[in-house]
């Protein structure tokens, strides 16, 4: 691909976002609404936030919490998922409770966690980790149950020992689903991060938007919102990069009914997501 083609490809992707931004600019300037500052005003608030306010500290605090929590939550989920998913009986016995757990609003537990574990980083990490746990767990189980029986059979007939089997067959076999689960988990984690910083926190991005909102500093609120959006985009981009590295074999495998290539498979696959027969 030469330079000209690259520019053209870039333009084909970017003209709409640019147009939307321009339209927002024109519209906010024309409406002159207190609640909708123009993009330059938001940008200014953003720079002020980093320069004068504690926005940088807030960002660091939030990023650290969400990072640690996603790691802990997903690691625990994959381990538990391996145990449950490897047993058809356990999968069957726990299925409704897992669905139930996932459908229970974690947000409502946040006050309880704060009282129990204090107002520091710990309760936030725990809340986010638990929020991350369910989707990753469910997807790990789905992924394991979805491994082709022929793969299992091969392992049995070649007398592969259990640990080796888990490490080199089950884990990579379920990896695409696990990553799909992680993608959902990141969305959940962001929400819980924000909410956990609204309750019982003096730092964090959630606290930043809460405080500036309470003070009617609308531009700052929008700026905080933009930072959270950027954090979300950054996290999911990082995940996609990781996924590409880990799942190189999966991404490039020609699909049976060769769907056009996309970054990652679609966002979702619950525990009942299907392997089509």
């Amino acid at each position: 691909m030469n330079a000209y083609q690259k520019v053209r490809a870039g333009l084909a992707m970017l003209w709409l976002p640019i147009a939307v931004l321009a339209a927002a600019w024109v519209a906010t300037a024309a409406a002159d609404s207190f609640y909708f500052p123009t993009p330059p005003v938001i940008l200014e608030a953003l720079i002020d936030g980093f320069r004068q306010d504690h926005l940088w500290d807030d960002l660091v605090f939030s990023v650290r919490n969400i990072g640690v929590a996603v790691l802990l939550g997903s690691a625990a989920a994959v381990c538990v998922g391996l145990i449950i998913g490897e047993s058809r009986a356990l999968t069957h016995a726990t299925a409704p409770f897992l669905t139930f757990a996932r459908a229970t609003p974690m947000v409502a537990f946040i006050p309880i966690f704060i009282i129990t574990f204090g107002i520091g980083a710990a309760p936030k990490i725990i809340v986010i980790a638990i929020g991350v746990f369910w989707p990753v767990l469910l997807n790990t189980i789905t992924g394991i149950r979805g491994i082709h029986p022929a793969v299992r059979e091969t392992a049995v007939s070649f007398r592969i020992p259990k640990l080796l089997y888990l490490r080199r067959i089950v884990l990579p076999g379920a990896a695409p689903q696990i990553f799909a689960g992680l993608r959902i988990a990141i969305a959940v984690a962001l929400v819980l991060m924000v909410v956990s910083e609204i309750y019982g926190s003096s730092v964090g991005l959630g606290n930043y938007i809460l405080e500036s909102g309470a003070r009617f500093q609308v531009a700052a609120t929008w700026a905080g919102t933009v930072v959270i959006g950027a954090l979300g985009y950054g996290l999911s981009s990082a995940l996609i990069l990781l996924e590409r590295r880990v799942l190189g074999w999966h991404q490039e495998r020609p699909r049976k009914n060769s769907r056009p290539k996309r970054r990652g498979s679609p966002a979702v696959s619950g525990v009942f997501a299907s392997r089509r027969g």
């Binding site: 970017l14 996932r102 409502a108 985009y233």
Partner: protein, 266 residues
């Protein structure tokens, strides 16, 4: 003969149920032990019995059912809009590559955005109102639906494309009888996920603001130091979400009868 068959079916159903009952017992036992151990004050973690008692008191009140209704109303309104707007956008962007390309970056950014972070802004603009709740639900759900519809529209296999061309099928038939049905499984998956999510988001909004609904009742009960009621409401929310998942799966399997096997053995 018929009798023995039904008895056998009953035995099989029991055989399928027994392990789940065991797990339920273990979970309840764990909860009870945890609450009884008193690691955490009973003001925060009530016993299962206390929760059931609180629930029994709540379930006869109009307030309880009204909150459920309010939550569902907000979730449904947001979900409906997300569907009405998301499905056509998804199908269009899935069918036309140029549209997909120019919306990709936009959707990628918006999709990862946590709608709840807009809450302070929405509170300013819309206030703690039903509309605000519906809007937050809409934002949380619409991109899931768009992406699934997009994925569905692109799942028409090359062979089917070719077949349609070889048999000279006109464009409108192609859209109505090929693109739409072949993307329905994927759209259904999106709707199912969005439906579960919509209730979660609605409750999240209610917890954080004073929009009426289950979430508001949870905060209210917590404010009143009535942890049993708070847990009863939280578990109600769990049951609600669970029912939505189960029902949308049922709906899915009915609607997609043409699909060979749309679920795993679970």
């Amino acid at each position: 003969m018929a009798e023995s068959k039904s008895r056998k079916a009953a035995r099989r159903r029991y055989g399928r149920l027994a392990p789940r009952v065991t797990v339920l017992a273990v979970l309840l036992g764990g909860w009870w032990a945890f609450a009884a151990a008193g690691v955490i004050s009973e003001d925060l973690v009530p016993t299962p019995l206390g929760t059931v008692r609180a629930w029994a008191e709540l379930v006869v009140t109009a307030e309880y059912w009204n909150s459920i209704l309010e939550t569902l109303r907000g979730a449904a309104a947001g979900l409906l809009f997300a569907m009405v707007i998301g499905v056509p956008i998804g199908l269009l962007t899935g069918t036309y590559a140029a549209l997909e390309r120019c919306t990709r970056v936009l959707f990628d950014v918006l999709r990862t955005f946590p709608g709840i972070a807009m809450l302070p802004v929405f509170l300013l603009i819309l206030g703690a109102t039903f509309t605000m709740k519906a809007v937050v639900v809409f934002i949380a759900c619409v991109f899931i639906i768009v992406l699934q519809a997009q994925y569905g529209a692109r799942s028409v296999t090359p062979t089917i494309r070719e077949t349609v061309r070889a048999y000279r099928i006109p464009k409108r038939l192609w859209f109505r009888r090929v693109v739409l049905p072949s993307s329905i499984p994927s759209i259904m998956t999106g709707l199912r996920l969005a439906a579960a999510l919509s209730v979660l988001v609605a409750i999240g909004v209610e917890v954080l603001t004073t929009v009426p609904g289950i979430g508001f009742r949870v905060t209210e009960a917590q404010l009143g130091n009535d942890s049993s009621s708070a847990w009863a409401y939280i578990l109600t929310a769990g049951v609600l979400g669970f029912l939505i998942v189960v029902m949308s799966e049922l709906a899915e399997s009915r609607l997609l009868r043409w699909r060979p096997s749309s679920r795993l053995e679970m």
